[in-house]
């Protein structure tokens, strides 16, 4: 079994659920899933203009891991642009500060303390969860 991923701290989740291209002729394609930590990495590096070292400390991960997440974020966005795909914000392995989550299946709202590693609904065990806006 692969080593479980350490959680990446995300200060603020993205303020959108996704982006859609317009003015294209193609059929709808599968969207690109942009994880919260990838959004956060892109934001810290290219919007807040931090160095990878500073940004990795904020997210509680090593510089190398940060670089990988950041690279993945850029590549996903590039792929979405070039292949005219939607971008969808997906929870991923984020740890949100004092976050409340909602289950899309049973609509229970809940927190996930640091001691719990499972990122699913504590009531119905569904993985279909997202942050409460």
């Amino acid at each position: 079994m692969a080593r479980p991923k350490s959680l990446r701290k995300v200060v603020k989740p993205p303020g959108f659920k996704g982006y859609k291209p317009y003015g294209h002729q193609q059929r709808r394609q599968k969207p690109v899933d942009l994880l919260y930590e990838e959004y956060e990495a892109l934001k810290l590096a290219d919007y807040d203009l931090m160095t990878h070292q500073e940004a990795s400390e904020i997210m509680g991960i090593s510089r190398a891991t940060f670089a990988r997440i950041y690279e993945r974020a850029r590549r996903k966005i590039a792929r979405a642009f070039v292949e005219v795909k939607e971008i969808k914000a997906v929870y991923g392995h984020a740890l949100l500060d004092k976050s409340w989550l909602v289950c899309n299946k049973c609509f229970a709202r809940f927190t996930i303390p640091e001691t719990i590693t499972e990122r699913n609904c504590p009531v119905c065990k569904s993985y279909n969860i997202e942050t409460v806006k």
Binding site: F107, A108, F110, T111, V123, C124
Partner: protein
């Protein structure tokens, strides 16, 4: 893992209590065995600090997860500090409905 569910009475057929600190009973569900045990909340009628007392009781009973209708600010802070998972359910359910959902 132990889960605390707030209840209006000491049976699983009772509706679950949507208040945390002032819930009448606390139901402890052992998720491994499916057993439920009920504890009376002595601080349900307290003048103040019911949320704090309830959080202390939760820690004392060894629950790692609390299911209720809402949590007050004091209870929230304490439960967060003790790394206890908080779950809010807004539907009108019986205690046994919640137990069933957890068992899946």
């Amino acid at each position: 893992m132990k889960t605390l569910i707030t209840s209006t009475a000491d049976t699983v057929d009772a509706p679950f209590d949507k208040r945390y600190g002032r819930a009448a009973w606390f139901c402890i569900l052992n998720e491994e065995t499916g057993e439920t045990t009920f504890y009376k909340n002595e601080n349900a009628e307290a003048q103040g600090g019911a949320g704090t007392k309830a959080a202390e009781k939760t820690v004392e009973l060894g629950a790692q997860k609390v299911i209720s209708g809402d949590f007050g600010p004091k209870a929230k802070d304490l439960l967060e500090k003790f790394n206890i998972q908080m779950v809010i359910i807004e539907e009108d359910l019986k205690v046994k409905d919640i137990v069933e959902r957890i068992k899946g």
